[in-house]
Structure formats: C-alpha cells, structure tokens
C-alpha cells in the first residue's frame, strides 16, 4: 500500500500533462499569443491604414513608448493625467470598500435579529450585473431627473443650484461612489469568511481576562484578519485599477477629464483615434506598472509575515 501511495504522489509519465493539455492549449491561444502580438504591436506604427494587415505596419522602434511618456506633448500629458486620476480613484475606492466591508463584517460577526436578511441584502450589489447597477446610478446622477440632485437641492437644500455629476469635476466623486457601492460587498463577503476561521476560544479566554468588545476587535479580530486582508487588498487594487465597466457605462466612450481612468483612456486612444501602436505601448506600460506594484507588495507582506513568525 505504501508503494501505491507514493505512486499517487509521484506518478511517472505523462498523466498530469495530459490533464493540463486542454488548459495549456487554451492558455496559449488566449493569453500567450495575444500578449506576444501585443508586444510586437507596441513597436509598430499601427494606425487605421494597417488594421487589415497589422504585420505590414512599419516598425517604429521605441517611438510609441517615447510618445506615451513624452509628458510635454499632449498624448503623454493626458496619459499622465489619466494615470494620476486612476491612482487617486483606486486608493479612495479600495480604502472605502475595505473600511465598509470590515466594519460590516465585524458588526455582523455575532448573531442578532435580521442578520441573515441584511447579509443577503448586502450581497445584492455584488450579484447585480455591473451595467444594470451602473446604469441605475447614472439615472440617479442625472442633473434634472435624478434622485441625487432631488435630495441634495430640493429636499435638503444643501445647494442652491443643481450641479452636473456626469461631466466636469464632480464626475470623479460620482465614479468613486458607484465603485465603492459595487465593490464593498466583496470585501464584506471575504472578511466574513475570514472571521469564521478565528477560534472562539480566543474570545472566551480574553473575556475571562476582562477584555471588552472593542478591545477584542483591536487585539484579536483585526490581527487575525491580516492574512485575509493581504490577499483582499491586492485583489481589490488590481480590479479597481483595471476597471473598465464602471466608467464606460457611466460616461460612455470618452470619459470627462476628471474621471478618465487608464483602461478607458487606452480604449479611447486605440478605438476612437485608431492608433493601436500607441494603445499597445500604453497597455504594456500599464502591465509593467501593475507587475512592479504587485511584486513590491508581495515582498513587503511576506517579509512582514516572516517578522511575525
């Protein structure tokens, strides 16, 4: 029997590779080939004249990259603006989603009447198709017919004049609100799952020692959630930074300058101005940035984990 077990763990031959074959073939087709093509594209002068046969487009070397990062020219300047907007948007949206998710998960850790219903309710924004949710928000943000201005101006009299929410500087606020609304339930769901892994003896022992609820949260709950948070924050960061659906449904093909997120900016430079070469160079730069941030993040969190151990 020992022999058999060992064979199960270290099989000779091709079986694991056979099992992986379909996945490998598809990975090649949908990820590897497009990525290579994308990198090649970024070195070519790929304008609308070469869409039909992109391989015939002339090489431009680092020309597209130079154009993307030349911050004194319009293309580079607007890319830099968009990058900065995306950073601010991501920090705000991830921070607020995490805060709401943590507070809700901790407050709902203990049973109380109506807890089950509330939990189901809180998951609805997460379950709704993104476009259905964002379209509803865009209706609420309409200047003359929307709920937001009706409440702020007509009912609470906080403002004299009805502001525009979907154009101009306010569009950034609108974008953050919508993004938090649909992503905080994911934080809530993940953290609730994380709370279930905390042994209840910890709470029992600490309340014997006379610790109150707030102290327990600070000393037991939050530290125990740290490994969950490390994954959660990274996932939220990547999703939010790459988000295309929310700004696209809220603002359409060209977002207002104050809410011009990077993925919509690349989409706009590629499909509206038909310059795929520069668009690809921008996507490669975006990817490099995300890889760098992720690597630094993983390095810092794992070092901290080692220090804790």
């Amino acid at each position: 029997m020992r022999q058999r077990l060992r064979r199960l763990r270290h099989p000779r031959g091709a079986l694991p590779y056979l099992l992986l074959l379909p996945a490998l073939a598809l990975e090649l087709l949908i990820h590897l080939v497009p990525m290579v093509v994308g990198i090649v594209m970024s070195f070519k002068q790929l304008t609308q004249f070469f869409i039909r046969d992109w391989s015939a487009a002339p090489w431009t070397g680092l020309g597209n990259y130079r154009m993307a990062v030349d911050f004194s020219a319009p293309v580079g300047q607007s890319l830099l603006n968009s990058f900065w907007t995306t950073c601010c948007f991501t920090v705000l949206s991830v921070g607020l989603s995490w805060l709401l998710g943590t507070a809700a998960a901790i407050y709902m850790q203990d049973a109380f009447r109506g807890r089950g219903i509330l939990r189901a309710l809180f998951l609805v924004p997460y379950a709704l198709p993104v476009y259905a949710a964002v379209i509803t928000w865009s209706f609420m943000f309409q200047r003359d017919t929307g709920l937001i201005n009706h409440v702020l101006v007509d009912q609470l009299h906080l403002m004299d004049e009805k502001p525009f929410w979907l154009i101009g500087d306010n569009s950034f606020t609108a974008l953050v609100v919508v993004s938090v609304w649909k992503s905080w339930p994911f934080a809530f769901l993940t953290l609730m799952a994380g709370l279930q892994n905390i042994p209840r003896e910890l709470y029992e022992a600490s309340s014997m020692d006379g610790a109150g609820v707030w102290q327990q949260i600070r000393k037991i709950t939050l530290p125990s959630l740290r490994p969950v948070n490390q994954v959660l924050v990274l996932v939220l960061f990547l999703w939010t930074f790459n988000d295309f659906n929310t700004p696209y449904v809220l603002f359409g093909k060209s977002a207002p300058e104050a809410a011009d997120l990077i993925s919509i900016h690349i989409y706009q430079s590629s499909f509206v101005t038909w310059n795929f070469g520069v668009g690809s160079a921008m996507s490669v730069l975006l990817l490099l940035f995300l890889l760098l941030v992720t690597a630094v993040y993983l390095f810092l969190t794992s070092r901290r984990r080692d220090a804790d151990a």
């Binding site: 996945a23 709902m108 476009y131 509803t136 209706f139 799952a193 892994n197 309340s207 795929f276 890889l291």
Partner: protein, 287 residues
C-alpha cells in the same frame, strides 16, 4: 455554514448603538439604487422625464411590455445566455482537469503553470483586447472565418478571464478535499481519471457550483469585450441596454425595467447558492 464565534459576554450598549446606526446608513446606501430601479420601472414616461419623485404619480407595468419592442431585448438575452453559458461550461470543465493535476500531482513545470495562471488573472482586459481584435480581423481577412462579431469569438475572449479564475479557485477547493479519499479509491483499484470523476468531482460539487456561478456572473456582466467584439446580430445585454437612449431622450422607465429583468436571474441564482458561494470562497480564496 459554520456559526460565527459568539463572544460569551453580551456586547455593551455603545457597541449595539453604533452597530444600529452603521447598519442603518449602510442599508440606505445599498438599497437606494435598488429602490430607484424598481420604482422607476413602474413609472409612466412623463414621471421619469421630470424632476425625480420617490413615489410614482401613477403605477404602470407598461415599461415591462415595451422593453421587448423598443430594442430587440429578446435577441440580446439569447446572445448573453449562449455566450455566458458556453464560456462558463468550457472554462469549468477544462479547469477541473487542470486543477486536479495541479492539486494532486507534483510535476515539472507545476510552479510555472500556477504562476502563469495566477498572473494572467491580474492583467488588464484592455491588454488582451487590442491584440485579440487585430488577430480576429486578420483571421477574417486571410481565411474568411468571421470571428469578429461572432458568438464563438466572444466566447473565446471571455475565456481570458474565466479560465484562470476557475483554475485558481478549483485548485484551492480540491486542496481542501482530503487525499485519503483518493488514496482509498486507488487502493480499490480506481485509476486516476476514475478517481477524479467518481470521488473528487462529487466531493467538490459546492466548489464547482461556486466557480460556475462566479464565471457566469462575470460573463453576464462583461462590457469591454462585448462592446468591441459584437455586431448588430450578436450584441449582448451589456451593449444592447444602451439602445433605450434615442436621439432626444432616454426611456429611463424602460431602462430600469430592462435592468431589473436582466438582473433577476443572476441575483436569484446568487442568493439561492449563497451558502455554497461562501463555502467555496472560504476554501478557494481565504486559505
């Protein structure tokens, strides 16, 4: 689902009060758009074109009738259904085999495979959109196979996010199934493939359900690829819903009714399968 730990001491009043206030505000934040969606979908057109009102001036179900004729919503529904179901089924079936290999065997290249799958998950969709678009255009020009605008082409692009995600979640779930089960089956003379189909897959049903629901939900709500890769006849709900805006105005009551109609299947499915989803997430993501 396991019960959350209950602190033996009753929480103090300060905790209870802050909890009430917080949960009340949060519920208002969550509920307001849902209320707007439902109430506006039952308003006559003049109501949604004037200043906002909490309560409809007159109650009507006409928008629910009109949504099907203003735009070909039925066609969009069918397109979304075909694309989402196919992408989900394809990625989950392929992921089951791949995840089994990764979870149960140690082989050369295992680490490379998992790292690749994990990292493609974080890549922005826009990175794949541009090359895939051009590849589809080129294939169409040189072979006459029109991938651009076809459902098959869209399904293929949806695999870019549903496949790595399914593999990643299922590896986590399979890891949580005790190996003793496999070993007992092997002792009974089951081959690896039979062990997978007769032992591991049945034990992993909650995880497989969770992954399928997530994959379906993401495909059903996808906007980026759908806006570029579809044409008049293959348009999905994500793109088609924008058709309620005419030159001069938007039929907001119909938009809200349509949004509600396309949301109900996924939300109902999600809430019904919630317990599996939380279990799947605990095993897959948290561990």
């Amino acid at each position: 689902m396991p019960k959350a730990p209950v602190s033996p001491m009753a929480p103090p009043a300060s905790f209870k009060w802050s909890r009430r206030v917080f949960l009340l505000l949060l519920s208002a934040f969550v509920l307001t758009p849902l209320f707007v969606m439902i109430s506006s979908s039952m308003k006559p057109l003049q109501d949604v074109q004037g200043a906002f009102s909490w309560i409809p001036s007159s109650f009507t179900l006409q928008p629910y009738v009109d949504i099907w004729t203003t735009v070909p919503l039925g066609d969009y529904f069918v397109n979304s259904l075909i694309v989402s179901v196919s992408a989900t089924a394809l990625s989950v079936v392929i992921a089951i085999f791949a995840a089994y290999a990764v979870s149960r065997y140690r082989f050369r290249g295992r680490k490379l495979f998992t790292v690749t799958v994990l990292s493609t998950q974080m890549f922005p969709g826009i990175l794949f959109l541009l090359p895939l678009f051009l590849i589809f255009v080129n294939i169409g020009n040189s072979t006459g196979i029109a991938l651009l605008g076809s459902r098959g082409g869209l399904i293929l692009t949806y695999l870019t996010f549903s496949l790595p995600f399914s593999i990643w979640m299922l590896v986590g779930y399979f890891d949580s199934i005790p190996r003793d089960l496999d070993e007992a089956a092997a002792v009974d003379g089951c081959g690896p493939l039979r062990t997978l189909l007769k032992i591991v897959v049945p034990a992993a049903v909650p995880g497989i359900v969770a992954v399928s629901v997530y994959a379906f939900m993401t495909a059903w709500g996808e906007v980026l690829f759908a806006s570029v890769m579809t044409n008049q006849t293959t348009r999905t709900l994500a793109v088609g819903l924008q058709g309620y805006a005419t030159q001069n105005n938007v039929y907001w009551n119909q938009v809200m009714a349509a949004s509600l109609v396309v949301s109900i299947p996924v939300v109902a499915g999600f809430l019904l399968l919630q317990r599996y989803l939380v279990a799947g997430l605990t095993a897959g993501a948290v561990k």
